[in-house]
Every structure is written in C-alpha cells, then in structure tokens.
Amino acid sequence: MARVVVDVMPKPEILDPQGQAVANALPRLGFDGITTVRQGKHFELEVADDVDDATLAKIAETFLANPVIEDWVVRRVEA
C-alpha cells in the first residue's frame, strides 16, 4: 500500500471565486498581509503497490482534474 496525494488547482488565468472570497474576507477578520489566495482540491489515495506512476498520472488527468480549467500535481508520500 502506498499513499498518493493529488492537488488540483484552478489554472492561474481562470477566475477562482472561492479563493477570492477567502482573500477578501481575511482583512475583514483582522488578518493582514495575505495578498493572494487560491483554492483547489486535495485528494489522498491509498493505492496498491502495483499501481504505477503512469496510471496515477492518467487518473489525475482524465478524472480528478479537468485540464480545461485546472492544473494538477501527483506525488507519492510516505505512509
């Protein structure tokens, strides 16, 4: 068993209303100095040892992310 993390983020040129809402709210809550916030998704997968990197890349690209609007990063982490 391996643990795999996939982070999916809106592409920089795509409007990110959620991240923007967070960025706008922070000063109102008294937190200054945060200039940009972007919000995406974080997936944690438990995968069998025979699942290779190419398969993981494919899962991320065809399913977990929508390449039209999102970028993604796949990484294996220590269990």
């Binding site: 809106p10 040129e13 795509i14 409007l15 209303p17 809402a21 399913f63 929508n66 039209v68 609007i69």
Partner: protein, 223 residues
C-alpha cells in the same frame, strides 16, 4: 419523433424534460445511465440534477457512464443533443462542447427567473425563436459560471456559437455573459437555465422554454 431522456443516479429534472417533450408533441423515451443503448431515439436530452451528487466536479463522473459513450458517438454523427444545467456540465466534461462550468462568482446556489437573449436561432433546438428575442426561464444552479480560455471564447463568438446570453444583472460570473452554446454543426446545445421548467405558466414563470422542444420536433420532422 422519439426523444431520449437520460437518468443518472442523482438526476432530478428527467421528469420535467420528458414532460416538455410531450408538450411539444414528441414521445419521451427514458434512457438509463448503465445501458449501452439509445433505443433508436431521434434526439437525446441530458437533463439537470446532481448526477453522482455532483461530487468531484459537476458532470465529471456521469461523463463516463456507458450511455454517454453512445451519446458521444451519436452526436458525432449529427444527432441533436440538448444538455440542460447538469446536462450542460456533462456535455462539457464529455468534450461535446468546449469550456467548463465553475462555482457561481457569489458562491451561492441561485434560483431565479432569468431573462435570456437568443443569439443563435439556427441550431436544432432554437429555430422557433427570433434572433435577439428575450425569453424568461428559471435558472437554478450553484456552478453555472461558464469559463473557457480566450481562444475558445473568440472561436465561439466568431462562429456565432453562443446560443443564449444572460440579460441584466450577471447571475454567476459567466465569461461574456454566456448562458448557452452550441457545437460547430449546431446540433448539440448546452445551457445552464431550464427551458423545461418554463413550458406552462402554471408551474413556471412563462412558457417561453417550450420553443426549444418545438424547434427540435420541427428539425427532426424536416430532416
């Protein structure tokens, strides 16, 4: 005139889409997500709702349903396909239409009666309208913001493939106020607002939406 209406787990507006087809004089045929079969229909509607709970991304899981493989194949051969709301999202995820739909800019689900301008009345689904006409139909969605890169937007605008545009106050942050678009051949149309909820002034704000279903019946009868 047989029109297929797909039901995925979590589909909600299938009954409404079927009713709209009947009001327009067609026969509604239910299609099940797990079937590899379009039952010989002349056109397909992918209705609204929350297929697979809209988990992951709206439409992302439904796109892989067996019936969708058939829809993609049929659409590529010219079958008229209409995606409403979640159906529009599914058609984008399935790459039958370009772009994507993201969270409303104000982050809330919005249900309201929405004015739309008809920008293209030459698709299989819009011939009953006058170009430039304004229609009032319900909009109800949480992720209705239409997004695409600049090149795609230029292409859509340049080829006249924007079918509907929001009129008045922007409801969800869509680029160029886009409410609905069509494929290059004008056969596949997707839109966020709900024409199937505007077929009778008893249960909707107007009957302005009926024109889409009547247009389809016309186009199939003509063909």
């Amino acid at each position: 005139m047989r029109v297929g209406v797909i039901t995925f787990p979590g589909t909600l507006d299938d009954v409404d889409a079927a009713r709209a087809v009947r009001y327009a004089g067609g026969e509604a045929v239910s299609l099940w997500h797990a079937d590899h079969d379009l039952k010989g229909v002349d056109a397909v509607i992918v209705p609204g709702g929350f297929s697979y709970g809209d988990y992951l991304r709206c439409g992302a899981i439904a796109r892989f349903a067996p019936v969708m493989q058939e829809v993609v194949e049929a659409a590529n051969k010219g079958m008229p396909v209409l995606g409403i709301c979640n159906g529009f999202q599914i058609l984008c995820e399935a790459h039958l239409l370009p772009g994507a739909l993201v969270r409303n800019s104000k982050l809330h689900f919005v249900c309201r009666d929405q004015w739309l301008r008809v920008e293209n009345n030459e698709t299989a689904w819009t011939t009953r309208y006058d170009r430039g006409a304004e229609i009032l139909v319900p909009l109800k969605s949480g992720e209705g913001g239409y997004q695409a890169d600049q090149r795609t937007l230029d292409e859509l605008e340049g080829e006249g493939r924007v079918v509907y545009r929001y009129v008045g106050e922007d409801p969800n942050g869509s680029r160029n106020g886009i409410a609905g678009i069509t494929s290059a051949n004008g056969r596949v149309v997707g839109l966020m607002p709900h024409p199937e909820h505007a077929i009778d002034a008893l249960t909707g704000p107007t009957d302005d939406g009926l024109g889409m279903f009547l247009s389809l019946v016309d186009s199939v009868v003509k063909a």
